[in-house]
Amino acid sequence: MATGQLFSRTTQALFYNYKQLPIQRMLDFDFLCGRETPSVAGIINPGAEGFQKLFFGQEEIAIPVHSTIEAACAAHPTADVFINFASFRSAAASSMSALKQPTIRVVAIIAEGVPESDTKQLIAYARSNNKVVIGPATVGGIQAGAFKIGDTAGTIDNIVQCKLYRPGSVGFVSKSGGMSNEMYNTIARVTDGIYEGIAIGGDVFPGSTLSDHILRFNNIPQVKMMVVLGELGGRDEYSLVEALKQGKVNKPVVAWVSGTCARLFKSEVQFGHAGAKSGGEMESAQAKNQALKEAGAVVPTSYEAFEAAIKETFDKLVEEGKITPIKEVKPPQIPEDLNSAIKSGKVRAPTHIISTISDDRGEEPCYAGVPMSSIVEQGFGVGDVISLLWFKRSLPRYCTKFIEICVMLCADHGPCVSGAHNTIVTARAGKDLVSSLVSGLLTIGPRFGGAIDDAARYFKDAYDRGLTPYEFVESMKKKGIRVPGIGHRIKRGDNRDKRVELLQLFARTNFPSVKYMEYAVQVETYTLSKANNLVLNVDGAIGSLFLDLLAGSGMFTKQEIDEIVEIGYLNGLFVLARSIGLIGHTFDQKRLKQPLYRHPWEDVLYTK
């Protein structure tokens, strides 16, 4: 390792595994630093190609997306940093492929939980090929005013607060990513700020070590002093002790190893980081602090005294004239994202869609406020779900059972009705399920299946106006309108539709009132006197009984009932029900491998 600068103001990275937020944060940092080029040259998203839109200041830019590491490296030969956001399962393999690319010099691995043996392979490869691995289990690192890895240093406010948009004089390295951010703030408070900061990650075997980076910082002329935050566990700090003892570091090092609390715990404890474990005496925070102190580092008596020790060391360098004062610059304002502005209550934006029947945002989806778990636990049926999503209320079980009976009765009416016929023809033309289904559904209208709504409308109007069956039927006849819900192609007065009988039986047993149905029956009695096929058909039965359901349940206002009848709820019931049959016909034809349907000439009257 050793040698010096890893990054500069022109460093570009390839970003593995598309993650919008960290990339955007990198680009925002770039803008803040006045970089001319974005620090992310390309994105690698296995299996995807194209572009990702992101902001570079006020402007939107399109960053190329590649499906393989090799393709990305070939397309962006000057990008020499590889930022790996792969999961712990695949981070090692993708990092190894990246290290093997001649254009890649630095690989940062964010994932926590990479197997040790895999990391060791990366370390060995990097060492023999002069490359640098940062991580795993890290947030990354930052060179102030130049280049930032992923989420390092957090929000823009924090970056501004810590003056990370311009270089200072302090090189910082820690194990903990969270604490690195804290320390940028601390260091900015008592010095001229960070030149570069690296979090090596909390694993037992980090890709690069505390001393690797300290030795590198020692070679960077702009770094005037170094700050190290170590942790109990492992022996990493001792390589720094060795380097100090051998005189390899000629700039002041202020160091603290946390974890002095470990002696409070009686048995072995695994702390937050994998590498932070109370092992032998050598690995204790106390022993490491002592060794660092003896090797010549400035070691405070506690973390609380760390800040003062950094300040003292920096002030001394200033006194000695070793620090050139920094010309302060004012970073540009980053336009705030709409989402975060809304979240913080600074702006408001109108919504474009309103929805009142369901909500999928919480722990589980809700239908009209009823969570999915109670729908399942209470043994609700399709009728109850229809009641929630269509009527936005929980109707009594007899109502929802009635809805279910209607769905069952209307699900299919054989292959010859026009809807089913269209579906069959379409399926046989080799079309897909949805096409076959909708070709049948599109047939539903005033002549096919659309009579339930009309039956309900006319029966309701006639009953509510107090018309006798005679007045009603004759007034319709005068207008030239056939009474919807009356009449059947086959059924007769002495051979009633079984479906109608079933509905009537259910309603008479369960409904508190069946006044609309009784009215429809009176109308039927009158029409039967005119012709034997003018029976109450299934549309008429459903239409009138639905009126009874709405009025009798006591759960709808008069206005609501009018609206339900008006906007076509009952037709919806037919469409829903018949979809079941039409889907069945589609599958049936496909299963039977039926060829294209062609209507026979013989069945067509060709005429002028």
């Binding site: 935050l229 946390s258 702390f271």
Partner: protein, 418 residues
């Protein structure tokens, strides 16, 4: 997720199974595990050698120096072994300052032997340390100068040449046997993601290597690659760690999520309680309370990272329950601290804590709880304002600090007036 010690029983089970698979060495070792739930009749049916051979019994609880502590029984018959175990099962013992009950034993055939060899492999950053000695056994520490070690860099194969310095002093026939055995153990080590193996001692039975005592440590991070190879494996707690119900609850929660949730109860009667975000910061807060001379007042060690609101609620509930369990009129403090977050939404994390605080209003008041908050990062102002507001709403003293304050400053505030 880190290096985890496994029981001797599992170490030997893995070694036997995979030596055979990888290098066709068939170790003639047998071992049986006994816990409180063992049915001895069933065990005898499954492991018939138990009634046919003289036996060794020892606790299998991740602690060493068992022989020196008088916990190993040699040359027993099965009845004798059962009697030895029954007398000790559940008995509390103290090993190097750690107290705990003995819950698990291992029974093996008694092997009279002369030679006691030592073998250890440990995974290091740049390779492997392999140590061998002809003078193994319980006096190994006294004979440490007789241990030979080699360092094998990552990716280098373990060749006869590499092994040579370890076994140079052995007669060539024995050296060859032991060298082959080492190569086999090393193959298992690598293939199964061990981070440490120690046999102290192993001996020779009919000229073949035979491990008598064995310790192993696996890299838990590699579990996803080794599900089949490791089989049904338990990662026991270190000896002496007996989990309180609250600790088991949080451990269980931690195992089910990608978030990190850690809770260790230190002193149920303590008056300073931690609710700290971040692996690094949690250590430093705990250090600081100790540095301020209040280590004995520390109730817990807690670390969390990336929890959902619901998970945070559950963790906070446990901490608040413990913190308020022993009211005595004196001031108690809860530290809700953390570093300046890189990406955690502080406001959202605090929502879970606030829900727990509201639930425990009367308990908090009764225990004279003072709350000290320090956090920075995304949305921290919202989070701090909510914390301040909930303090006023519940009538509990709450102080909040942002990134402008020193991270551990609230430790001083918490201790003041205690």
């Amino acid at each position: 997720m880190a290096r985890k010690k496994i029981r001797e029983y599992d170490s030997k089970r893995l070694l036997k199974e995979h030596l055979k698979r990888l290098v066709h060495i068939d170790l003639p070792i047998c071992s049986a595990q006994v816990t409180e739930s063992t049915d001895f009749t069933e065990l005898l049916e499954k492991e018939s050698w138990l009634s046919q051979r003289r036996l060794v019994v020892k606790p299998d609880m991740l602690f060493g120096k068992r022989g020196k502590s008088g916990l190993v029984a040699l040359n027993l018959d099965f009845a004798g072994a059962v009697e030895f175990i029954k007398k000790r099962l559940g008995q509390e013992i103290e090993i190097e300052g750690c107290k705990g009950p003995i819950t698990t034993f291992i029974i093996e055939p008694f092997i009279p032997h002369k030679e006691e060899y030592y073998l250890a492999i440990s995974s290091e950053r740049l390779g492997f340390n392999i140590s061998f000695s002809e003078c193994g056994g319980i006096e190994i520490e006294e004979n440490w100068d007789k241990v030979n070690s080699i360092f094998l860099p990552t990716k280098s194969p373990l060749t006869d040449e590499a092994i040579a310095p370890l076994i140079a002093d052995l007669p060539s026939e024995i050296g060859k046997k032991i060298g082959n055995f080492m190569k086999g153990v090393f193959a298992v080590f690598q293939d199964l993601d061990f981070s440490f193996i120690e046999m102290n001692p192993f001996t020779l039975v009919d000229g073949e290597a035979y491990p008598l005592d064995m310790r192993g440590e696996l890299d838990e991070n590699a579990a996803f690659k080794n599900e089949d190879k490791w089989g049904n494996l338990e990662f026991p707690l270190p000896f002496g760690r007996v989990l309180s119900p609250e600790e088991s609850f949080i451990l269980d929660l931690n195992d089910k999520t990608s978030a990190s949730l850690k809770f260790t109860l230190l002193n149920p009667k303590g008056r300073i309680w931690n609710m700290i975000a971040g692996g690094g910061a949690s250590l430093i807060y705990t250090d600081t309370v100790g540095d301020l001379g209040c280590a004995t007042e520390l109730g817990n060690y807690t670390e969390y990272g990336g929890p959902s609101e619901e998970e945070m609620l559950k963790l906070a509930r446990v901490i608040l329950d413990c913190a308020t369990a022993n009211p005595d009129g004196r001031k108690r403090s809860i530290l809700i601290g953390g570093n300046i977050a890189n990406l955690t939404d502080v406001g959202a994390t605090f929502d879970g804590i606030i829900r727990a605080l509201k639930e425990k209003k009367s308990e908090l008041k009764e225990a004279n709880i003072h709350i000290y908050v320090r956090r920075g990062g995304p949305n921290y102002l919202t989070g701090l304002a909510k914390m301040q507001a909930v303090g006023e709403e519940l009538g509990i003293p709450v102080e909040v600090y942002g990134p402008e304050a020193v991270m551990t400053g609230i430790c001083n505030r918490a201790i003041e007036g205690m």
